[in-house]
Symmetry: C2
Subunit: 336 residues, 2 copies
């Protein structure tokens, strides 16, 4: 641990050239003679030179960094979206700087501020809970792309989202086509994603002439919440044969609740989630779900950011991806 790191000047001195030439050589310019280049790279290597990213981004006035705000890292759904983001970001020679807000607006504010202090050139926000005011404020400083929340719009905000209403409808339609009619819903709390899925549920129930069976209990997108809400539904109406649950994580909770209520899945009770998180494919019962193309959403979001970085005048966009029915182990024809 040398007390002080070698700088570009140390390299220049050792190689017997000017710092400007070192700068060029390090960045791989072709206007450096082979002889100089070799001497410089050798000197840099011998000294263990490492360019100072802070100085670089100061002089450059670009950080080559994209900031990503994630809801949290425990729900693997976000990790999947992030994979897509990072693939594109890396391919552009940029870095990502990752923070988590846990849906806490206080913390989101602090983390976003830190990202902006770092002069990130673009921002990708991936969370179903997200303070719209913060997003709008950030959008005044750099391009912002929001994943999952199509309802947050404003100057400088692009979105990449699924059609959650439609997905909600399809979940119901698929159960109906399996012969189910008493289909209840575990919702996902106070956010637009959950509201849309619930609306889809209600619309499809009405269209199928099943309005009388509409039954909703509020969850909160967590496993524990799904478990409690599902248990309550099964108590309120033991005749339920189908359960549409607002996301995969709470659907896993609903599976537990079903077993605790001595309902066997899927023969007695079919359960459908949303998201298509890969870990839900794992375990003894693999979850049927309305899957979103998570990695693709991440890639798309990153592409949108770069398009706006590259041409600052570019129009903001609102992309919609399609969810798809992924039948696995928790759905079956209605009993009887």
């Amino acid at each position: 641990m040398s007390s002080t790191r070698p700088t570009i000047n140390d390299v220049a001195a050792r190689a017997g050239v000017s710092k400007s030439l070192v700068s060029l050589a390090i960045r791989g310019s072709d206007r450096v003679s082979d002889e100089s280049r070799e001497a410089i790279l050798r000197a840099a290597d011998e000294l263990g030179y490492r360019p100072n990213a802070a100085a670089r981004s100061l002089a450059d006035r670009r950080s080559r960094t994209i900031g990503v705000l994630l809801h949290d890292l425990h729900n693997p759904v976000f990790a999947q979206v992030l994979d897509g983001v990072q693939e594109i970001v890396r391919s552009h020679g940029y870095r990502t700087m990752l923070v988590t807000g846990h849906g806490d607006s206080q913390r989101e504010r602090a983390e976003l501020a830190a990202l902006l202090d770092f002069q990130v050139e673009g921002l990708i926000l991936i969370s179903h809970r997200l303070d719209p005011a913060l997003a709008r404020q950030a959008a005044r400083e750099c391009p912002v792309v929001i994943v999952m929340r199509h309802d947050i719009t404003g100057r400088g905000i692009s979105t990449v989202c699924a059609d959650d209403v439609r997905a909600g409808r399809e979940a119901v339609e698929q159960l109906v086509s399996l012969g189910h009619s008493r289909i209840a819903h575990v919702s996902g709390g106070e956010n637009r994603v959950a509201a849309d899925r619930e609306q889809g549920y209600r619309e499809a129930m009405a269209e199928a002439g099943l309005s009388e069976h509409v039954l909703v209990e509020a969850g909160d997108f967590t496993e524990a919440g799904g478990r409690v809400a599902a248990a309550r539904l099964l108590e309120r109406d033991p005749g339920i044969t189908g359960l549409v649950v607002a996301n995969d994580l709470s659907a896993l909770g609903a599976v537990v609740a079903a077993q605790e209520a001595d309902r066997s899945v899927p023969s007695d009770l079919s359960i459908v989630g949303f998201d298509g998180m890969s870990l839900a494919a794992l375990g003894s019962l693999t979850l049927t779900t309305m899957a979103q193309p998570l990695e693709e959403m991440g890639r798309e979001a990153a592409e949108r950011v770069f398009r706006r970085i590259d041409s600052p005048g570019a129009r903001i966009t609102h992309d919609q991806v399609v969810s798809s029915w992924l039948p696995r182990g928790t759905t079956a024809p209605a009993p009887g």
Copy 2:
């Protein structure tokens, strides 16, 4: 999106003071008069001033950032460790910069280089796969703490690990005390963590006089790997009643394999994992495991980094945390 951001000079001009005073006021120094402070903060607010982190860390020669290299974000185990890390890092007024290496040494190298370019003041490496040479090289530039891999040592490298040999032994001992004797092992591939757990398994089997029943099949710490390896074990010796699986993720795979082989868990077959990842407590069968105090390991690692940042002469340390038996739904007394 103003074409150019306000700087400290703009704030100074607007508030009618010098940039030095603005700098002091922004950082909350008490040697600024109330009057000046108020004028400065108001001007900063009106202009939407935001300190430039790059300039700051350049002038300061400290980044107030801790770099964290994670294996990947999909295994929730790493997210749990990270939670502990971030708690401590935030409490010190620092930030974390997060990258993932996916056990690919090429990528690890690039990501570590990026972190060091950023002048991170400390580095926490959390991965069971990790190139020791890279860790040692990084340790020449800043304090390094490795979580999970006690075998990687060297100048400037501290470690925070569980005693995996001991955990491996205890997993076997617990099964033995439940009456099991035909206990097989799914290992975790070519890394020290897996090797230690396997060694513990072998030692405990020998001590219990069960050497003749030692049976090992290699997995790779993934769900798919665990599933395949477990299936092979059950085919090689259908008499197996206990399975010690190298980590929770592959243990979940083993549960699937058991069901595919028509063995019911836990009545026919007991399965034990390692790690104590929270998502394994979820779903229909909750996994019995040798749990590590994951968040605590993260906190401990971060504490160690800061101790060495604060007093550069501090000795490097090698901490050991204790794993504990967490009986849940996949273990039961031996059949018959």
